[in-house]
Amino acid sequence: MNEKNTNEYLEKLKGIKLSDSSRTRMKETLLTYARFHTVEDAVRVGEDSRSIGEASGDASFISQLFTLRLQHMAIALLIALMIGGGTTYAAEGALPGDFLYPVKVEFNENVESAFAFTNSSEAKLQADLAKERLMEAEQLATKGELSAEVSSDIRARLSEHYTEATDLSNKAEIEGDVETAAAVRASLLTTLRASVGVLTNLDATVDGNESTSLVNDVRTYADATADAQATATAKINTDFKIKAGGLLDASVDVNSDGENDTSTDERTSSTSDTRNDVQIDADATIDTGVIDASTSVGAKGSLGL
């Protein structure tokens, strides 16, 4: 092959581009990033300059702002109350370390919680908030800003949300709302598993992150949730069999169901080992979508598919 052909070969690489969806998503993310790290902030802070390619994690800078922010949290809340909607809306996208973050977690989320009247709705909310905390961690980790301090703050908050979501979904289950309990666990499991994968990956690829303890917590929660879901699913099946009295024998192939695939690379060996003995025997066609979905997630998650 001569040089001309080789050049043509290399030319082909020019056709490789970002997909339209990726480009749009990245542009939005970048613009959001630019608006959360404004020029005015840089001028105000003054020392946030970095050389090319230097790791962006700067613990002392973040910790200083954190201390400052904790002190001013009360003032931030007061301002939020006075200014109203605009500030609290703007706070929705805030990350740990941002000026409006206290408004988001101490004000907005407590307001949401106040409007969650039942155990089921509060359980759903807490699962959503757990997801929000993990997404914040992931966003910071992409920038190498998931320092030990921020990590520990997120761990504490995540632990609260996780415990609340689990306790309340158990209560909801006892009250008879089995569907919500299963849906909350399924949602938690998907979030937790995906997050283990993402955070582990970012920890390995981006400098400045100290997220090992956080990842361990998330993994523990994921395993516990998978256990709870498997137990609940087994119970549903047993109950259902008793009720159905063996009249229905249509079999459901839970594994062929593509719904709610957690699509995470993280499959710990212990997870798959301990779950292999859980037989998800869905030998009846269950019409209620939630139970069906939970069965599918339970089976997928627990068997490590």
Binding site: N2, Y9, G15, A42, R50
Partner: protein, 165 residues
């Protein structure tokens, strides 16, 4: 410069160089998602520099330097992991080509070039895919233009050898 004006420059730079930086990262890390993450990270650091008031004499070169540094850090971290995993994992294209046939061609071209050593593929990419002049490559890699020419010739012959297989 105010926020609005800088945002405009920021987004224009992304439009102008986003694809090229993505390609560069893709060839370095052989994984679509990771290459996208790196591209995003490159531009976030670029924004940090813009807001800190850094005067950009050569935006393109600046972006590639960041991408190159990120990739270097990544390689260092990966050394403890299996090097085979990357090759075994194969290639994921960001966007399917206009037809399966062309898609397969991209894939093949990528596999061949990622199979080469880092220095070879970096220089081949910059020269023949991105169309950089040897003097610009020399500036970015901090070597003389002569060294670039020599490396280019050698890398090209190695690629030719590969393609004959």
């Amino acid at each position: 410069m105010n926020q609005e004006a800088l945002e405009k420059i920021f987004l224009q730079s992304f439009d102008a160089y986003g694809d090229a930086i993505f390609r560069f990262c893709l060839v370095k890390v052989s994984n679509r998602e990771l290459a996208e993450d790196f591209t995003q990270e490159v531009f976030m650091r670029y924004w940090q520099a813009l807001r800190d008031g850094k005067v950009m004499t050569n935006t393109r070169s600046f972006l590639y330097t960041i991408a190159n540094n990120l990739a270097k850090d990544w390689y260092k971290k990966r050394k403890s992991e299996s090097l085979d995993a990357r090759m075994d994992g194969g290639f994921e294209l960001a966007d399917p080509g206009p037809s399966p046939h062309i898609d397969a061609e991209y894939r093949e071209a990528l596999l061949k070039i990622t199979d080469m050593d880092d220095e070879d593929r970096e220089i081949l990419m910059l020269r023949h895919v991105e169309g950089w002049e040897p003097k610009d490559i020399a500036e970015m890699l901090n070597v003389s233009a002569n060294v670039v020419s020599v490396r280019l010739n050698r890398a090209m012959s190695r690629l030719q050898e590969k393609l004959q297989i």
